[in-house]
Symmetry: D2
Subunit: 336 residues, 4 copies
């Protein structure tokens, strides 16, 4: 931690900061510049509150020099994590494709979709049973019934399964039926839910919040991991900007940034990010090209009749064509 004092800071104010640091068992290194004095703090900074220090007289700024997340940090865990999900894995050598409908609508529908995505190379089946919707008057999901359909379809076609959870009750139901929990963008900082997911025993896919910084996202992963659950996968799904020609702005640069900061796998969801099926294939290829460990893609038997997010879903033919097109990109990325 570095403390930057104001220009012409009074000597007694500099001393006060120094004394406070030392009274907490830490060491203060002073650098007196021509314009400003800076104080480096050496020792275990968890003993000090940045917020206290910011209020000392003549303190201009506090600059943290280490990250607040530890378990998710590549610095303390240099090897990439491989997360096992049911019969499959997500990690540095996998070609993970999680595909399925936005919302589970019926058993027949889900069987149809599971069969099609399996045939085209998907490794996991997604399907929403609990839907967080902006308006209370929109379709909210089949809940436990939807989870049962997911389990059945996963078994039938040998696909690992993932469902979004939105409450403790949903987690308790989901652990009985599916292989992985998803925390959605709107709940990325629902810390109670993160802790419960951490305690569930299942691997967790953590979507980035609509306006979350990468730092906040990694801290959210830390909440799950701090409960003893190391099996977290991060999913970039677009951030909110002023641009309106896509639903959100897919931040693909987050992929190489994350690869520098964390050992956790990173996947990309081009369906929710763009909101339009036409943009899914180019952005899926781009995601693999910049290093993503996998993709999450919405697929529907009849997008025109989907109960949720139809315009961004691929039909079976388009999905099959995309998985073919992706093959050389996976190979170029060293995934065999």
């Amino acid at each position: 931690m570095i403390i930057v004092m104001k220009p012409q800071a009074a000597a007694e104010h500099i001393t006060a900061v120094k004394n406070y640091i030392e009274s907490n068992g830490l060491t203060a290194h002073l650098s007196e510049g021509t314009q400003v004095t800076i104080i480096g703090v050496v020792g275990d900074k968890s003993r000090l509150s940045t917020e206290h220090l910011a209020l000392f007289s003549d303190v201009d700024r506090i600059v943290p020099v280490t990250e607040s997340y530890k378990l998710a940090n590549l610095k303390f865990h240099p090897d990439p994590t491989v997360v096992t999900v049911g019969c499959t894995q997500i990690g540095p050598h996998t070609r993970t494709i999680i595909a399925g409908p936005c919302a589970v609508e019926s058993n027949d529908q889900l069987m149809l979709i599971a069969k099609a995505v399996k045939r085209s190379g998907a490794t996991m089946l997604r399907g929403g049973a609990y839907k967080p919707r902006t308006s209370p008057y929109s379709f909210q999901g089949l809940e436990e019934e939807g989870l049962r359909y997911m389990q059945a379809a996963g078994k039938e076609y040998g696909l690992a399964t993932i469902c979004e959870v939105v409450s403790l009750e949903a987690i308790e139901a989901a652990v009985k039926y599916v292989d992985m929990l998803q925390i959605g963008a709107r709940n990325m900082q629902n810390f109670i839910l993160l802790k419960e997911a951490g305690r569930s025993g299942l691997p967790v896919l953590l979507k980035r919040g609509l306006c979350a910084t990468i730092e906040e996202w990694l801290n959210a992963a830390e909440y799950i991991m701090a409960e003893g659950n190391p099996n977290v996968v991060l999913c970039e799904r677009g951030i909110r900007t002023y641009e309106t020609s896509t639903r959100n702005t897919l931040d693909l640069s987050a992929v190489p940034v994350l690869k520098e900061k964390t050992h956790l796998p990173v996947i990309v969801d081009p369906s929710h990010a763009t909101g339009a099926y036409r943009y899914v294939p180019p952005m899926a290829k781009a995601a693999v090209a910049c290093g993503a460990d996998g993709l999450m893609i919405e697929v529907h038997n009849n997008p025109a009749c989907a109960l949720s997010d139809g315009p961004q879903s691929l039909n079976f033919e388009k999905f099959s064509h995309l998985t073919e097109e992706l093959k050389p990109y996976w190979t170029l990325a060293g995934r065999n």
Copy 2:
């Protein structure tokens, strides 16, 4: 709802859309332009899915013409709502000042603060007992013990009380001790929590999400109201932008915008928005000047030692000075 067809849309595609609308019991009005055809949909649009329509061939865009929130909508409820909270009210003629520490730290501290803010004219006491923190390693609050201190301090000094809730468990505890629930920015789209708060029987203060549009915010209020709870107060607390000289960007224009769209009271929190105590007084005055029904302000007996958010807290002297300065602004705003 208006459907804009693509230029040179095929006649049969236009007919297909028209037939679909009519088969759902609605009426389609066609306007054939020189460049594009547009179709106005007349009737109860809840019978139609925007998402289905977007996938019909040659459909370019769907433009909604009515809002999805109803109970919160000024159009259907033209008189401003007055929300009663314990011994006080929030509404078009009130001078609501909600003051107190970011986090409840001890009974003594809270009594001291409650006494000071009451003396300076606060109408409600705030204090966090459950703190949603970015890092799992930061102080997370005293929980039920903190709620008990809130109740005691409120009684002692005749202040209505409000606490943030982050889970069903926290709501169940809070209803026993305090007069109003707060849903924080990070939970604005935690729909499960919104529904539980709606069922609690207590009035709810709903903070705007860090990247929530006003439309989404009103839909979140609708979730609470749809459970039969009409007592919702909206609180603007800054949105996330690229500007870094304040913690967030206080969107004061939201106040007059909300006054056009909803009958619910609107208050402003300049402490969290700016993140710096020095900016709280000017922004508090500005909030009253542009029509806010009240303010939420962080006050601490010793900001330099606050366990949370010290840099944005006013000490007693500064808070007292501010409430004096605010008096003529309330009067100018017609609040007596």
Copy 3:
């Protein structure tokens, strides 16, 4: 300047940075922490390039500790600047109201508007003669003819005049007719234009760019001032965010932030920021309440027929009502 080294930085890499600093005639202070080493640089940092340093091995981050703008900086010029514009002034005790149409349309129109705004208390007349428009097919302004009308109307009614300039040619014309130049949001980082405006001899009103940080804005002011022109006034006019219910998001917190960083006057334009005349009065009052030195407000004789930006213009009656309403706010702000 502070250089933060990576954890476990090699001793020779730390030495390399230290040697580079010292070989440039500066002093390096090392603080060796348990996790990281930081190096404080003491001396005239203009001799060093941040960018070179960022490329030394094991350098993690460079933290600047002083601002790059000097002439605009309150630290080096603690007294507030008063800018004289024709027959009026803008500064810490003024009630500046700059009013007029978005675009000058005809001599008659401008005379009518000038008369009305003068009667209601405006101190300056605005009117666009060169309009930067998003589409090349929109009305682009009357150019020099418009400037002549501005001069005539200013003389007739005793109002100082201001026009936006978009090119060297426009500046050369404007200096012949008006009292102050305006640099618009889209040209805030048109550095050539800033320099020319600096050399013009006229005071300059510098609008904030749509996505400019306060730091960049002050650096843009520095471009004008570095040409020997100290008469710069800053104008907040809204920044671009994801919120769409107002045209831009008026960042009123920028007013107190600027008052801490610079001695230059600050005015607020609620017309362009909100894009809707209904929001202009509440935001104008808020701007005065949080410390603005003045306002820029669009006024039109017949907003329904304005050639540009009609929806945000006040008619004469609404403007007159607003200036009356503002009087007690100016008084409360200590402006007499």
Copy 4:
């Protein structure tokens, strides 16, 4: 154009809008809904001002249905444009790589870089001679001397050349020496400069503004094209968001969006977007994968000593490695 009236709009207000439309020689189609009436306008909308209409009583919203740009619009020009630049081309089948230093520093430096990038497969040489810098105290470029070095290096190594221009004077100099003009992000809405570039006779590379929507960007291209210059290439270079781990947020989705809206070539600049050389290779591959017609990449002989933007420059070895890695990606994208 569609006009949405307010709920319960008075019949005479609806009639007034209808009459106004018809008095301008256009046709008004009314659709009377149960909640609102909408009016479709048929005919040449350039005769009508959206802004006038927005002020009619009971008008709620105006929805444009056609784009304001025509020459850049794919609807009116369905074949992709190929832009010829000196000895090379940019278009749907090219593997354009524009490489070189951020700023031209000396003739020797530029010769060295030109030789290296040519050897590695670059098709064009970039180099800044006029640098728009945030601070007036930063290095501003060698100006005409830099242009001469560009010409010499281009000739020596058979590379087409491109330089940023920031003023009419710079355009006049540049046309004598280089093959293509660049309009930088900060000048994207400097409409005077766009027109001058349009009249220069040279092809123009137009970078996206830091906070420009795709719609505004295409309108800026229209300014150049409206001067009779069809040779415009668009360059995505990152937009401003709240995320700070990269300098800007590279909006790669803009590539497929632009391919739907315009026939102009689209290239991507990962160097400026990310601000860090480590992120350039993954984002360059992603750009090719999602359909970009080319790349603009900063290369420097000694990034640690670059006078501008060193941290984002590749050295020769890294650039050579990247161009090798890109080859199969170009092939997959159908570029031979």
